[in-house]
């Protein structure tokens, strides 16, 4: 069927800010879909509140709106742009939910707009628990015994009939928010109450627990004529009970025979047909490990994280094909973009093994429970490809960027055996390491399987790796052994450590004997057809397939690895734009990255894609083969920066700012010398290695001081210390990981925080804009509300900032991007940090100023000059828009995480508010971040002493707009003295009714709780904040944020939002 010619203008809805459960995969899907639509000559209107995405670029869509994802905004946008169709299946649950509401309220029908890619009936059938169950029953597809409940009592009755444990799944939530397993009545009541509240429709599915069954997923596609195929199936190594987003997943399935494989495949096709899905769909199964019994766990009638994984695992571009299907094409009409010979109706087959490991944020949330459940906690993931499972697992482990490189990286050797077995039963992110230790102790496969329910095939694979460790330790170090260890992807330095050699020795021996990595192609067809897409993975002991390319200059672009807090999708935006810009400059581009969720690992972004870990050894193997003319590290965040030295040792020139200058910015002494030379002040400070030194420096400076390790991103390990005790604690934490560089101790200045991104060509600089943070210094820049243009600094200060930026850029010989953070106290401007690389704010500032700074920086790196490129050096004129970047957090997903803001970054994503007035921009930003007030008009204020004065003022303003204020005694007294009618409430440790009862009573809209600084802050108010977050209450932990919020709420005249097309800026 050819394409439906009635479709001319399509509104594509994105997924909004990155939160746990809805991440970069939707930027990948959305970007691919938009490009696919534009390829067909359609006009694309894009809506997404997330400014860090590639899909919100003017190159990707014709009209781009970075506006809050609310029903009102979509309605207004449809009236303004008059698209004939809306495509909601590529923006995750967020977009799907919006589409449902627009359909239910009749808006689409009234305005003659069709939903393409799916119908509302389909969404309802798949998403509504009851309808889904009925549909499955109709076609004879089994679901676990379950009941949709709307009250706790119903749930308890059901569970008591079927027996515990039961699984709870709230309807219409993403990443399984509010779900979990309840083993008894107490747990059931607690989780169910929470789930009912979080569900958009107040429904929770309570079902028979099938924990321990194999979890299998199928990615299926179907077109409007009813043709269906499966793209890929995947097997979770962790059995049912862990959210698939938190499981280690392998593709294709490994332990299923053809009978099981085809049984589930047929079932998946039956389901997609019955649901009448046109596009992509994900079906999750639980398969009984000892029979053919299975249950359908869930169906996602849209592209998902799993479909991004399946696309990268097979080379089959699901989102692109889904977009074409939405336009009316059938699968046999769509060319397979990888082979260019076969069609989209050809089921991909793999001739390799893919392993995905989730990236969990427990390094950021030290207090959080590491236990994995049906509620997703991972912020990102890594994928690896190899022709054997062992190798794929080893590569994935070292791609994680969390100081792990083998199955020995977490040490359980001192744990007693019975304790180890107890630990094995705990499902957390370290389980494969525990299994490895158990195998080292000789604990039987049967016992490990009994405890973990992990299939013995996987246990055996871990055992093979453990045996290799032993062989390397004990056997003579022969070439045969080395070859075998490399086949399993043991890194050289691990081999060296085990065999008692130096890493260089192992490496030399390898090269001398031709034991080097070869690269194979991901071609969707197991080599049955010649493919044209240069998408590669490494293997040892095989023939190399990469064709030698010559002629063009080659540039190696290093990606940013898994999405984690502090290093998000922004760096993928930068990597992709850098690649495109180099391509336009006539370079051959080569991307190395290991994140399956991103746009950069789409096979048609660079000329060549290497899906590989980002370690020196892995990169060297690529360099050996490709011999690039240079490498760019400044766009891939800390992951890429860390590779600078190794690349230089390999003889690869670093394009742009040189490595010495990157060092100069990070090295305290060198940097101080530069600042002194330029006459730029910075907060006083010193470098230390031990707690004793730190205390001495801190006492000289006077508390409070800022303590942090060098070379980190996202403020990892950064703390504010208010006394010697804090210093001891913080230095202890930092030194848990051996530090190659000194720890920095600085005087903490509480001024306004200002940030700039700039491009420097060696002589001139261009600053697109100056950004100001709403929260005062002390809160990580990534967690602050950032405003462009800066609101409260004078023209003179702006001049100083421009001057300092220029001096620093020139002194550091920056070629490309640089990011500087300043503190402004009065008219004094201090520099606190300089990063000669791209930053988190780059996509945001590019979009709101209309200056494409990544491609500009790339051109400069390639030799261009700012003046020649059509820009006037210096600070660009301010736009006539106000733009507010609002951080978005995923605290409700991470049980036990402390949500109070500080110097260490905690947000997972961001959204933008852009408008002609500051107030509207701020309002939009809060709206985009999901803060919808008021509901009950009750709030709690409990603040530290320093904030009392400000809190009183804020309290007055909230009272004025009709809020009832509850406060702890101290705060309440201060309020009352100022004439605010605050109700004093008992603290939690005091008798009921206390703060906790209020929060749990669900009558509270907002909690303002600013914890005192210092080490004690973690405990103080922790329980209140956690409980508030987990009951869905908004919590603000910085007084400045609270002030911004009340300001936005006071502006009740903002009813009708003005929508701004970013593509026109």
């Amino acid at each position: 069927m050819p394409r439906n010619k009635e479709i001319k203008k399509v509104l594509v809805i994105g997924s909004g800010p990155i939160v746990i459960g809805q991440a970069a995969e939707f930027d990948y899907a959305g970007t691919q879909a938009c490009r696919s639509l534009k390829e067909e000559g359609l006009e694309v209107v894009l809506l997404n509140s997330n400014p860090a995405t590639i899909m919100t670029d003017k190159d990707i869509a014709d009209r781009v709106y970075i506006e809050p994802l609310t029903v009102e905004v979509v309605e207004q946008l449809i009236l303004k742009e008059k698209p004939d169709s809306v495509l909601p299946t590529l923006g995750g649950q967020a977009a799907l939910n919006l589409a449902m509401e627009l359909d239910e309220n009749g808006f689409l029908k009234r305005n003659n707009v069709r939903l393409i890619g799916t119908t509302s009936e389909t969404i309802k059938k798949a998403e509504d628990r009851l309808e889904f169950k009925t549909t499955m029953e109709k076609i004879g597809e089994p679901c676990a015994a379950s009941l949709v409940v709307e009250s706790v009592e119903e749930g308890v009755r059901f569970a008591e009939k079927t027996g515990y444990p039961v699984v709870l799944r709230p309807a219409y939530t993403l990443g399984g928010s509010g779900g979990g397993i309840a083993k008894n009545r107490g747990q059931l009541v607690e989780t169910l109450e929470n789930g009912l509240r979080l569900s958009r429709v107040g429904q929770v599915l309570v079902e028979r627990c099938i924990a321990g069954w194999k979890e299998i997923e199928y990615e299926v596609m179907r077109d409007g004529s009813g043709n269906c195929i499966t793209v890929c199936n995947m097997e979770n190594i962790d059995p049912v009970g862990v959210h698939t987003g938190d499981s280690i997943v392998v593709a294709p399935s490994q332990t299923l025979g053809d009978k099981e494989y085809q049984m589930l495949r047929t079932s998946a096709l039956n389901i997609i047909s019955e649901l009448n899905i046109t596009g992509g769909c994900n079906v999750q199964y639980a398969l009984h490990p000892k029979s053919f019994e299975y249950c359908v766990i869930e169906v996602n009638p849209r592209v998902s994280r799993s479909s991004a994984l399946a696309s990268k695992a097979t080379g089959y571009p699901i989102a692109k094909v889904a977009a074409k299907i939405a336009l009316g094409y059938t699968l046999d009409e769509i060319k397979n973009a990888v082979t260019k010979k076969t069609y989209a109706s050809f089921e991909p087959v793999l001739d390799y093994c893919v392993v995905k490991i989730p990236r969990l944020p427990f390094d950021k949330f030290i207090s959080a429970k590491r236990t994995l459940t049906t509620q997703m906690k991972a912020t990102g993931e890594v994928m690896s490809i190899c022709d054997n499972f062992e190798g794929a697992l080893m590569k994935a482990i070292r791609s994680l960027e969390q100081h792990v490189d083998s199955l020995m990286s977490y040490d359980y050797s001192n744990m007693a055996e019975d304790e180890l077995i107890e630990e094995l039963a705990v499902v957390d992110d370290r389980r494969i390491w525990k299994i490895a230790e158990a195998l080292r102790r000789g604990i039987s496969y049967d016992e490990i399987h009994e405890v973990t329910q992990i299939d013995k095939w996987f246990i055996d694979k871990i055992a093979i790796l453990v045996e290799m460790e032993e062989r390397l330790k004990n056997e003579p170090f022969t070439l045969e052994l080395l070859r075998e260890a490399k086949r399993m992807e043991f890194p050289d330095h691990v081999i060296a450590a085990l065999s008692g050699k130096a890493a260089e020795e192992v490496c030399d021996m390898r090269y001398a004997n031709g034991i080097t990595a070869a690269y194979k192609m991901v071609d969707t067809c197991a080599a049955e057809f010649a493919a044209e897409t240069p998408y590669y993975y490494s293997v040892y002991g095989s023939e190399n397939e990469v064709e030698k390319t010559t002629g063009k200059k080659k540039v190696l672009v290093l990606g940013s690895g898994p999405i984690r807090i502090g290093q998000g999708i922004e760096f993928d935006f930068c990597s992709v734009h850098c690649t495109w810009a180099f391509s336009r400059e006539g370079y051959e581009t080569i991307i190395v990255n290991n994140n399956p969720e991103t746009v950069s690992t789409d096979f048609d972004i660079a000329d060549k894609l290497y899906f590989e870990p980002l370690t020196p050894e892995d990169v060297r193997s690529i360099v050996d083969l490709e011999k690039p003319d240079g490498a760019v590290v400044q766009f891939g965040g800390q992951t890429a920066i860390k590779l600078t030295e190794s690349l230089m040792n390999m003889g690869v020139p670093i394009l742009g700012t040189s490595a010495e200058n990157v060092d100069a910015a990070e090295d305290r002494e060198l940097f101080d010398a530069i600042l002194e030379k330029c006459g730029i002040p910075r907060p006083a400070g010193g470098t230390v290695f031990t707690a004793e030194e730190a205390k001495r420096v801190a006492n000289e400076l006077g508390y409070p001081v800022l303590v942090r390790p060098s070379y980190v991103l996202g403020g990892q390990g950064m703390r504010i210390a208010i006394n010697d005790h804090d210093i001891e604690e913080f230095i202890g934490i930092i030194n848990q990981i051996a530090q190659d560089h000194p720890i920095l101790v600085d005087k903490y200045l509480q001024g306004k925080e200002i940030e700039v991104d700039a491009v420097c060509d060696g002589d001139d600089i261009l600053i697109p804009g100056i950004m100001e943070h709403i929260e005062r210094a002390g809160i990580h820049s990534g967690d602050s509300i950032s405003v462009y243009p800066a609101q409260s600094i004078s023209e003179k200060t702006k001049g100083i900032i421009e001057d300092y930026t220029k001096k620093l850029a020139q002194s550091l010989h920056v070629i490309g991007l640089l990011n500087i953070q300043f503190i402004v106290c009065g008219e004094e401007v201090y520099v606190i940090e300089v990063n000669p690389r791209s930053s988190r704010t780059v996509p945001y500032i590019s979009k709101v100023t209309g200056i494409p700074i990544v491609s500009l920086a790339t051109k400069v790196i390639a030799g261009g000059k700012i003046k020649e490129l059509g820009y006037t050096p210096g600070l660009a004129p301010e736009a006539d828009y106000f733009a507010v970047k609002m951080p978005v957090f995923s605290f409700e997903k991470i049980r036990g995480a402390d949500i109070s803001l500080g110097p260490e970054m905690k947000s997972t994503g961001e959204c933008l508010g852009i408008a002609k007035t500051f107030d509207e921009a701020l309002y939009k930003a809060f709206l985009g971040a999901g803060i919808k007030l008021p509901k009950y008009k009750n709030m709690i204020i409990t603040v530290r002493d320093e904030d009392k004065e400000k809190a009183v003022e804020i309290g007055q303003r909230f009272e004025k707009i009709g809020y009832r204020i509850f406060a702890t005694r101290g705060t309440a007294r201060a309020m009352k003295e100022a004439g605010v009618k605050a109700n004093a409430v008992n603290k939690i440790e005091q008798e009921s009714p206390n703060l906790m009862d209020l929060i749990l009573g669900h009558k509270i809209d907002l909690v303002i709780d600013t914890p005192p600084q210092g080490a004690e802050r973690a405990e103080d108010g922790f329980v209140i904040r956690r409980n508030a977050i987990e009951t869905g209450v908004n919590v603000l932990t910085a007084i400045d944020t609270a002030e911004a919020l009340i300001k936005s709420l006071e502006n009740t005249n903002i009813r009708k939002l003005t929508l701004i097309d970013i593509a026109k800026i």
Binding site: S225, G226, N227, I229, T230, P252, S253, Q254, T255, L256, G257, D258, K259, Y261, Q262, R265, T266, L269, P289, K290, S291, T330, L331, D332, K341, T342, Y343, S345, F346, E347, P348, V349, L350, D351, Y352, C353, D387, N388, F389, Y445, D455, K456, W457, D460, I464, K520, C525, A526, A527, E528, F529, A530, G541, S542, E543, E545
Partner: protein, 356 residues
């Protein structure tokens, strides 16, 4: 123990011996199925060939009851990696033991993707699997080039007729090397299936008055089956509904004057899209054939092309004009592979009921 795979173009792969240690010469073909290695091994259509599995991890679920005939047929078996520990609730043993018991030699630990690419580029080749480290290429290569598959249908067919009881239509299944699931698919639909050796005369089949005739899959070059083709001509002349799969499909076309040709490297796997030309629907099919019917050589007055391969446009089935006969190149019985076209057995049932 070391083993070697020697191709007729002189390429040598060194790997590890698996299964039997005997030396074999055969045609080398590749199969892209990711599951179903056991069904592949017991598919009689592989008689006379050595199979390379393109999926690198083979034997993961061991030996299960999923066998498609009484024994394993390939002359040799080539894999990247044989699983050390099979794991499945139905697992009865390891693939290694199975290959040994079936006396099938194999080789593991070679770059199967490189081998597959060679077969793709140069076309299906002959080769040798040996554990003899002192092989002499000069002596071996002429032998490899000279190797021809013999009358493999006669090896693969059953010796005497046998009947699988049922209460529904009576089907005569011509066994040219049939996979069990063809009979199973019919029995599941209530048929009484009598399986006949390939040498059975048409007259005997007709005399048994079946409600339908099923022509099975099988190994080898269809044009070599001259006597069978003559018998099929006689079956064509009757009004008995006929459904043919794979080799059966080719033989029916040959019986009607069509030509077949050898594909460069065949279709073997479970992911080939075939299009039903009557309604435009596309199904993913299980395939295993090295030869194809040249559709242009069959007059449109005799048969209409019913299915084509979406990827390369080769013929995948015919519907015979004015006859209750339809034939497909792919395998609706699956095993291994997708079950999407299982509905064709229902169509055959309808045809038989129409006649009754």
């Amino acid at each position: 123990m070391k083993a070697f795979l020697i191709l007729e173009d002189g390429t040598v792969f060194a790997g590890t011996s698996i299964g039997s240690k005997k030396e074999i010469i055969s045609e080398i073909v590749f199969n892209t199925s990711m599951t179903g290695y056991l069904e592949v091994l017991t598919d009689p259509s592989y008689a006379g060939q050595a199979v390379v599995m393109t999926y690198p991890l083979i034997g993961n679920y061991g030996i299960t009851p999923d066998i498609e005939s009484k024994k394993a047929w390939p002359k040799g078996y080539i894999v990247r990696e044989l699983s050390r520990l099979p794991s499945n609730f139905r697992c009865e043993g390891t693939l290694q033991d199975f290959l040994e018991k079936q006396d099938i030699p194999g080789i593991a630990g070679i770059d199967t993707r490189a081998l597959t690419k060679m077969l793709r580029e140069k076309g299906t080749m002959n080769g040798m699997i040996t554990v003899n480290e002192d092989f002499d290429l000069k002596e071996i290569l002429p032998k490899l080039k000279a190797y021809r598959m013999g009358d493999v249908v006669m090896e693969a067919t059953c010796e005497v007729p046998y009947t699988l009881k049922g209460h529904g239509p009576k089907v005569a299944l011509m066994d040219f090397g049939a996979k069990n699931n063809i009979a199973r698919s019919l029995c599941k639909r209530g048929c009484e299936v009598t399986v006949y050796p390939a040498s059975t005369l048409a007259a005997d089949i007709i005399a048994s008055a079946p409600d339908g005739i099923m022509l099975s899959n099988g190994p080898g070059d269809p044009e070599m089956c001259t006597t069978i083709i003559e018998e099929i001509k006689k079956l064509y002349e009757t009004d008995i509904p006929i459904f043919a799969i794979c080799l059966g499909h080719q033989l029916m076309a040959l019986a009607n004057g069509a030509k077949t040709y050898k594909l460069k490297y065949g279709h073997r796997g479970g992911n080939h899209p075939v299009k039903d030309l009557s309604n435009g629907r596309v199904y993913i099919s299980s395939q295993n054939h090295g030869y194809a019917v040249d559709a242009s050589t069959l007059s449109a007055t005799v048969a209409k092309e019913a299915f084509v391969n979406v990827n390369d446009g080769t013929n995948e089935g015919f519907s015979y004009v004015g006859k209750n006969i339809f034939t497909v190149q792919f395998h609706p019985e699956a095993c291994p592979g997708p079950q999407d076209s299982g509905y064709l057995f229902d169509r055959f049932m309808d045809m038989m009921k129409g006649v009754r």
